[in-house]
């Protein structure tokens, strides 16, 4: 098994979502998770613009420009869905009514600090959106990210170098080569690609990382690129 692609990473995170849970997916790769929800689990997707119960994207010819999700996609509603205004939506988020939020990340620190909103591109304006509220308000925050930067540098670090989204919030990290839990003792890999040794993993990590005694090989099925 070689490194997971984006769809396989999204698939892997989806397998751990709780039955009956309320889940908010961040922009970018996390939205792909909605394509791989386990069929045996009844899950409500929340969208920060006020939707509880996001359904699949609308088919061509059936779109409604007034029914969009946080990524501006024209979507449908699932059975049992409801819509509230933005202030009520964030009351839902901040009030601890979201079980899991899956967010993209630039960096995660060993104490769970998350940096995902400002990559310091010169002169480009900031875009924080709902990331800080989700990271601070959801019961559990999962990061979905490539393990290393394009240059091979570490993104799991002792301390974040980029501006924080929220401190001490990340519980799980789903990546292309490993699944990592953020514990009180720091990073612990619970799944790792079979072809990667613990030593190689440590070399690709910018902080101490343990490998769980129960560590399993990270696997994902072949998925159509969608």
């Amino acid at each position: 098994m070689s490194a997971l692609d984006r769809n396989q990473m999204a698939w892997r995170a989806a397998q751990d979502l709780p039955d009956g849970g309320v889940v908010n997916l961040g922009l970018g790769m996390p939205v792909l998770v909605s394509n791989y929800m386990p069929a045996d689990r009844d899950i409500f997707l929340q969208s920060e613009n006020g939707i509880l119960g996001v359904g699949p994207e609308a088919e061509e010819g059936h779109e409604d420009r007034n029914l969009v999700d946080a990524g501006s996609r024209r979507i449908t509603l699932r059975e049992g869905a409801s819509i509230v205004d933005s202030a009520s939506s964030f009351a839902m988020i901040r009030g601890g009514h979201i079980d899991v939020t899956i967010l993209g990340a630039f960096e995660v620190a060993m104490n769970g600090d998350l940096a995902n909103w400002d990559s310091r591109v010169p002169d480009k304006g900031p875009l924080v959106g709902g990331a800080m509220d989700l990271a601070a308000g959801a019961k559990s925050t999962w990061a979905l990210m490539q393990y290393n930067t394009r240059d091979g540098g570490p993104r799991l670090l002792e301390a974040c170098g980029l501006p924080l989204t929220a401190p001490n919030c990340v519980d799980w990290i789903y990546t292309d080569i490993a699944v990592v839990q953020v514990t009180d003792q720091g990073f612990v890999a619970t799944e790792l690609l079979a072809e990667i040794s613990a030593e190689e993993l440590r070399g690709r990590t910018g902080a101490p990382i343990g490998v769980s005694n129960a560590c399993k090989p990270l696997v994902a099925p072949d998925l159509a690129n969608g």
Binding site: S47, E48, N49, G50, I51, D64, R65, N66, L67, V68, D69, A70, G71, S72, I83, V84, D85, S86, A87, S89, F90, A91, I93, R94, D118, D123, K124, G125, P126, L127, V128, G129, G130, A131, M132, D133, A136, G137, P163, L164, T165, A166, P167
Partner: protein
């Protein structure tokens, strides 16, 4: 005299707008932008306004016209990044120091507006604690967790988009059209609702999502839902 908040035109509904006004604009992701009202505001042309909206750069919102026309002194937003590698009109003005930017986490943004309309001058929230955006804000610990003090935002004018309204100013929204419109209507001295249809008869109570007390004027613009 019987209440009738229906205005004959966008300009009539908005009325006079003073220089330096704080103006709120609803809309998110293409839903709920009152673009006909925004175009009318451009014609009215108040200077040095503070623009309160989710994004300063959303391509579907005509707020970018107000920014390009140089009417905006400051924006309070959650997003201010143009889509492409090229700088957006907002980003160029910001880089050149010609426009002030206050970037706010979206939940704090919407709650600050809600609080403004609900008579709450400030509140503590865990969102943003420990981040650059909340640097310098007052911090207090509640239940073992650090929170930052956020202050309410109130405005002079709200331009919101709904689906239907009645002569009493009651408004209904279509799906996610509501977004910030409800809170903004409560937080501004003068609220104008752009709607598809403005009825002479009262809307059935169960369909009212924004009570008329928060709406000063409704402007019917027709069109498809």
């Amino acid at each position: 005299m019987a209440i009738d908040k229906r205005a004959a035109s966008a300009a009539e509904g908005i009325g006079a707008v003073k220089d330096g006004a704080v103006v709120m604009f609803s809309g998110f992701g293409g839903a709920g932008f009152a673009n006909i009202l925004q175009d009318a505001l451009l014609e009215i042309g108040p200077r040095e306004i503070t623009l309160v909206a989710n994004s300063a750069t959303h391509p579907f919102s005509h707020t970018h016209k107000l920014i390009e026309a140089g009417l905006v002194a400051k924006v309070i937003v959650t997003a201010a990044r143009g889509r492409g590698r090229e700088l957006s009109p907002f980003e160029e003005l910001w880089r050149d120091g010609k426009i002030e930017l206050e970037c706010v986490p979206q939940g704090s943004f919407s709650e600050r507006i809600r609080a403004g309309g609900a008579g709450i001058p400030a509140f503590f929230t865990p969102t943003g604690y420990g981040t650059d955006l909340c640097e310098g804000k007052e911090v207090r610990e509640f239940n073992g967790r650090k929170h930052v003090l956020e202050t309410a935002i109130v405005g002079d004018l709200a331009l919101i988009r709904g689906d239907r309204a009645d002569r009493y100013g009651n408004v209904s929204f279509r799906y996610t059209q509501m977004n910030f419109g409800h809170a903004m209507a409560t937080a501004c001295a003068h609220t104008v609702a752009e709607v598809r249809e403005a009825m002479e008869d009262a809307m059935p109570q169960a369909e009212v999502q924004l009570p008329g007390v928060y709406v000063n004027s409704v402007v019917a613009v027709g069109g498809e839902p």
